[in-house]
């Protein structure tokens, strides 16, 4: 099943909605309950780490897409935000949660954080 869904986080209700939608995407993609929890919690943790939903913080644009590597399949969470770069301590908190994390930045004002979670089922 191919997935490519987008949503914008502007407030704390958007974080909650995103969390539930991502879990549903993971479920529909065939991921097990633990993977569903990991990916939905990763969105929650990333949104909070970037300060999304807080007053004065720019919105974050999320994109969830399916990915494949040989027989493995998984989901990629991309988050684009205009604002200060995510800090190294913040990034290190994700290292145990997700299989891969990457930060890309075309300019100092904009960054893209990409989390990858492979299905364990």
């Amino acid at each position: 099943m191919s997935t490519n869904e987008k949503f914008v986080i502007r407030n704390s209700m958007d974080i909650m909605t995103a969390r539930m939608e991502v879990r549903d995407i993971a479920r529909r993609s065939g991921m097990n309950l633990t993977d569903q929890a990991v990916i939905s919690m990763s969105v929650y943790v990333l949104a909070n780490a970037l300060g999304l939903g807080k007053h004065g913080v720019p919105e974050g644009k999320f994109q969830i897409e399916s990915c494949k590597n040989g027989f493995r399949y998984g989901l990629k969470v991309r988050c684009q935000q205009e604002g200060p770069m995510i800090t190294q301590p913040c990034l290190s908190t994700f290292e145990k949660l997700v299989d891969h994390i990457d930060v890309q930045s075309n300019n100092p004002e904009e960054q893209e954080v990409i989390l990858t979670i492979w299905s364990k089922s």
């Binding site: 549903d24 919690m41 949660l97």
Partner: protein
């Protein structure tokens, strides 16, 4: 009482382990509104005992409790073949990635922060797990 041999009603059985009476009442009311049968335990020891008696369909487990915490309860139940398959959802104020990771490591299948949306997220998680039946659509009713 042996809950396993005498299910109270047709709905799924939930064991709620929560030491705060106020929070337990609120969560219980929400779950019962969804058609679930809820039994409450007020601490970890009671939670483990009831889990063996009931073998519930899901355990909803608070993390911070005075005697043994939710991580320990989860670890205990996951280490016994009789209870290892019961899905455990943790509810907590500790919404750090480290706490979440710990929850996953001891075998919880979700970790819901106790924020303003906790009940909405819990209900949706139970719906996605098939514990709460989805409302019938007009198409289903025909």
């Amino acid at each position: 009482m042996n809950y396993r041999s005498s299910p109270l009603t047709k709905g799924k059985n939930i064991l709620l382990v929560e030491d705060s009476p106020t929070q337990a009442l609120g969560t219980k009311a929400m779950l019962e509104e969804c058609g679930l049968n809820v039994v409450c335990a007020i601490n970890g020891v009671m939670g483990i005992r009831l889990a063996y008696q009931m073998i519930p369909d899901v355990i909803i487990l608070d993390v911070q409790m005075p005697d043994i915490n939710g991580f320990e309860v989860c670890q205990e139940l996951k280490s016994d073949p009789e209870t290892e398959k019961i899905p455990i959802i943790m509810l907590t104020r500790q919404d750090t990635p480290e706490a979440f990771q710990q929850g996953i490591e001891v075998g919880a299948i979700d970790f819901i922060p106790k924020d303003a949306f906790a009940m909405v997220v819990l209900r949706e998680t139970l719906r996605q797990m098939g514990i709460i039946e989805e409302p019938l659509t007009a198409e289903d009713k025909e």
